[in-house]
Amino acid sequence: MNLTLKIWRQSGPNDAGGIHTYQVAGISPDMSFLEMLDVLNEQLNEKGEEPVAFDSDCREGICGTCSLMINGQAHGPEVTTTCQLHMRSFKDGDTITVEPWRAEPFSVIKDLIVDRSAFDRIIQSGGFISANTGSAPEANSVPAPRDKAMRAFNVATCIGCGACVAACPNGSASLFLGAKITHLGELPQGQPERYSRVVDMVGQHDHEGFGGCTNIGECASACPKEIPLDVISQLNKDLRTAMKNGH
């Protein structure tokens, strides 16, 4: 396959940045999207042009490091991570536009790499269960209903990639937030901090500059782990209960 790539290049946070056009040839449909970019980078290096900086690590679709808006869609046309998107999803001769995640709190570091440390700060604000090491009760002493545990697991699969934010017209991180609130809120161990958690995490979310949720649903359709939209309902319900009870 021969492709035309239109890629956002930005040398640093203070550079204006812009789209550059590159040609790549000999791309196999079995390559992942990132392997295609590896080919481009090897080519650029040979020509003496600095390779395109992009984030990736596990390349197995689980670490959440890879990002990229591909033709205006977070992680591209399939419901998966960019590292698991394969070139068989494109056609010979295609022009592909590649940009970094777009959201106010995700500032560009270089080229296609953005700063997602706001997610860590949201977790720091309450996205945990306070269980000191060594003092845990016997694991089976607190049974967890199977359906609740399943629901907790299904939403705990969030990889924190930020696609939900990049896809949201309001730049809201409500899906990310809702997934964590639901994960911990479904389990018996998560109950003691349930309501303070939601208040603190929503506060931090807003403080970071993420937008409010207006139920557009782009987040859930862009989520590579298919976190369902109803985690946002659960988030809102917990928040309402918390407010009502004066948390």
């Binding site: 392997e35 670490c63 570091i109 860590d120 209903p145 161990q189």
Partner: protein, 677 residues
């Protein structure tokens, strides 16, 4: 020695090894033997309990005056940061990723072992200990392994309390499954994403401490040098990968929890960024590297599809519980649709050769058997080189027996992942798998306290060598990472810190200045060579050499050839590398150059270690050492030792590594030839 009694009342069950072969003659220098200076004694079941009590305490008021650096935020590093922070020490945590939550522990799929015996199927601490030592082909330390088995049950308690959503039965209690190499169900799991869930648990516990102010988090930072003052580890030099700034961080203790070095093979199941640099920099400062040649090749990986491939993807070993592995009996069937090959023309070779373990034989055996089938010309899938490199992992029996829904519930994400990568639907067509480099059992040498031979430098998780011997059992990596991080290090580091407060040093100390200068000069060197080849191209070439000659099967001749090739590659690297861009910005080419330089030196040492060990054990299979029917043949009389290598200078300048041997003496388990037949 066998039969006599040691001073603590235990009886050694084997004699000390005495190596007579010397295949690596001329490649190394013999050093003094070493022993673990803090090895516990007495009945094995009491050793850790007693040690926990003997280890000295640090009072809470003094803890906040003590600084701990932890490099790496996977299960071993994240759990340690969380626990030590909670105890009140000042912890600085470093990772090269943009968030600690991305450490590669997250990609572990199958599960975590624990001797809970919830199934009443005969499991116990001793059995987990026994299985681990046996699975590791009697090349691990028995005291360390027993401790690992002992604390395994606490790990599950801890993780459940943190909200890790393990699989549960209808009554709300925890579910288990069984895993390769064992006959009990002791593996706890969260569908095929156990590593992710455990890591998120450790990460959240650590972030809680960040909020509490006990842990300071440095992301996108890479450790490039270890600072030694008066022979003790006192800090690191790190590069801020965003600004390029070279930073000095000082502390009273340094912990390396930096994972494994499987990426020396270029293609592996490791993350793209997994590297050996932190460990290798410590090695060059005097830390011993133990058993570097022990590489675990995982049997259930998605086969390579072509030259462009940047990494390999594992399919969890748990699949072997329900999947049956086979190849066609006849070579001419290899290109046929597998569904059209009748039952009588299929060779379920693991069930045939190893009837009592069948598809659940340990990883090294399953991997090698697959290789032999493909070498024989009975492999399936596309031609890669001269062979078809794949065998079938077939779920049709399981789907018939349990129904597709039940299979989906157990493995759906794995099946989806397979389909995404290969474009084939594994519910309809058998999966194809082939072995790939997955985990390294070698790593920095540590004592029972997980302290390296450099005082104040502790090493945990995959980065150390101690618990898995020559081969790791499935679902034991997660167990070791968390055991080290939550339960072992917090106790043993405390004992070390009880000697504090240590003399304060500052950035003007000559050792610090020197370390900084080395880092700066090295970076300057990479940027100034200005040759023609990218760091990636060297990495790929190194990987080919390693896989070909130091992969699933090694021979004396091949290893000698590999060492020559690596030395040539190294000379070329330092004269013909091309790194564009500058040092004062995010520069991924520069990052890779430093890692590849270290991988090249490590690769050379791995080959020397493999050449010296003229026996087959676990993940190390020497062609010259096999039984009549082709199974691995150990030589306990010669090689029941840990090979701890000291840096002896650059080979291009005539340097040679120095070999220190630590004899492995068992008192609780008798060494036996492994048999899974």
């Amino acid at each position: 020695m066998a039969g006599s009694t040691l001073h603590d009342g235990t009886t050694p069950l084997n004699t000390a090894p005495s190596q007579t072969s010397d295949d690596a003659h001329g490649y190394y220098t013999a050093g003094e033997p070493i022993v673990d200076p803090v090895a516990p004694t007495g009945p094995i079941k009491d050793r850790w309990t007693n040690r926990k009590f003997e280890n000295r305490l640090v009072n809470p008021a003094n803890r906040r005056k003590l600084d701990i650096i932890i490099v790496g935020t996977g299960l071993a590093g994240g759990a340690a940061a969380a626990t030590l922070g909670e105890a009140g020490y000042n912890v600085k945590s470093f990772c090269y990723q943009d968030s600690p939550r991305r450490a590669h522990s997250i990609a572990a799929q199958g599960g975590i072992n624990a001797a809970k015996n919830y199934k009443e199927d005969g499991d116990s601490t001793f059995r987990l200990f026994y299985d681990t030592v046996k699975g590791g082909d009697y090349r691990s330390r028995e005291s360390n392994v027993y401790r690992l088995a002992e604390v395994s049950a606490n790990i599950i308690d801890q993780c459940v309390a943190q909200g890790v959503p393990f699989a549960r039965e209808y009554g709300g209690l925890l579910d288990n499954r069984s895993f390769g190499g064992v006959q009990v169900s002791r593996t706890f799991y969260a569908r095929g994403q156990t590593g992710q869930q455990l890591l998120i648990g450790a990460y959240q516990a650590m972030e809680r401490q960040v909020a509490a102010g006990t842990v300071e988090q440095f992301t996108r930072h890479e450790m490039l040098e270890l600072i030694l003052v008066d022979g003790k580890a006192r800090g690191i030099i790190a590069r801020d990968m965003v600004t390029g700034e070279i930073e000095t961080h000082l502390a009273d203790v340094v912990v390396l929890a930096t994972g494994g070095y499987g990426n020396v093979f270029f293609l592996s199941t490791n993350a793209m960024g997994s590297n050996v640099t932190a460990a290798w920099r410590a090695h060059r400062k005097g830390a011993y590297m133990a058993n570097p040649c022990y590489t675990q090749i995982h049997p259930t990986c998605i086969p390579v599809s072509g030259d462009h491939q940047s990494k390999l993807t594992l399919m969890s070993e748990s699949l072997r519980n329900d999947g049956r592995i086979w190849v066609p009996k006849k070579k001419e069937d290899c290109t046929k649709d597998p569904r059209e090959i009748p039952e009588e023309d299929r060779d379920y070779y693991l069930e045939r050769i190893y009837p009592s373990f069948g598809n659940l034989v340990p990883r090294d055996i399953a991997s090698r058997a697959a290789k032999y089938m493909c070498d024989e010309g009975r492999g399936v899938g596309p031609m890669v080189g001269d062979f078809r490199r794949g065998v079938y992992l077939d779920f049709s029996d399981a789907i018939n027996r349990l129904g597709e829904d039940a299979v989906r519930e157990k493995y759906d994400n794995l099946f989806d992942m397979y389909e995404r990568i290969t474009g084939e639907n594994p519910y309809q067509v058998p999966m194809r798998i082939y072995p790939a480099v997955h985990y390294v059992m070698g790593g920095l040498w540590v004592d029972y306290h997980l302290q390296s031979n450099i005082p104040g430098l502790f090493v945990s998780g995959e980065a150390n060598f101690s618990d898995h011997g020559a081969n790791r059992l499935g679902a034991s990596a997660l167990m070791q990472g968390l055991a080290d991080g939550y339960f072992v290090l917090p106790n043993t580091i405390r004992d070390y810190l009880a000697d504090g407060p240590f003399e304060k040093i500052d950035e003007s100390h000559e050792a610090v200045v020197e370390a900084r200068k080395n880092v700066e000069e090295r970076i300057e060197k990479f940027l100034s060579i200005n040759g023609t080849r990218s760091a990636d191209s060297y990495h790929k070439e190194l990987g080919h050499i390693m896989w070909e000659y130091c992969g699933m099967e090694r021979t004396e001749e091949g290893l000698r050839k590999a060492i020559d090739m690596i030395r040539e590659l190294k000379a070329d690297f330092w004269t013909n590398l091309k790194v564009l861009g500058s040092a004062d910005t995010l520069n991924q080419s520069l990052e890779k150059a430093g890692r590849v330089a270290d991988f090249i030196e490590l690769g050379e040492l791995m080959c020397i270690d493999a050449l010296n060990r003229r026996e087959s054990c676990g993940g190390h299979f020497r062609g010259e050492s096999q039984t009549d029917d082709g199974e691995a043949l150990r030589h306990d009389d010669e090689f029941a030792y840990v090979a701890a290598w000291e840096w002896g200078g650059d080979s291009l300048e005539g340097g040679q590594p120095v070999l220190h041997k630590e004899d492995l003496i068992y008192t609780a388990i008798e060494m036996k030839q492994r048999s899974y037949k």
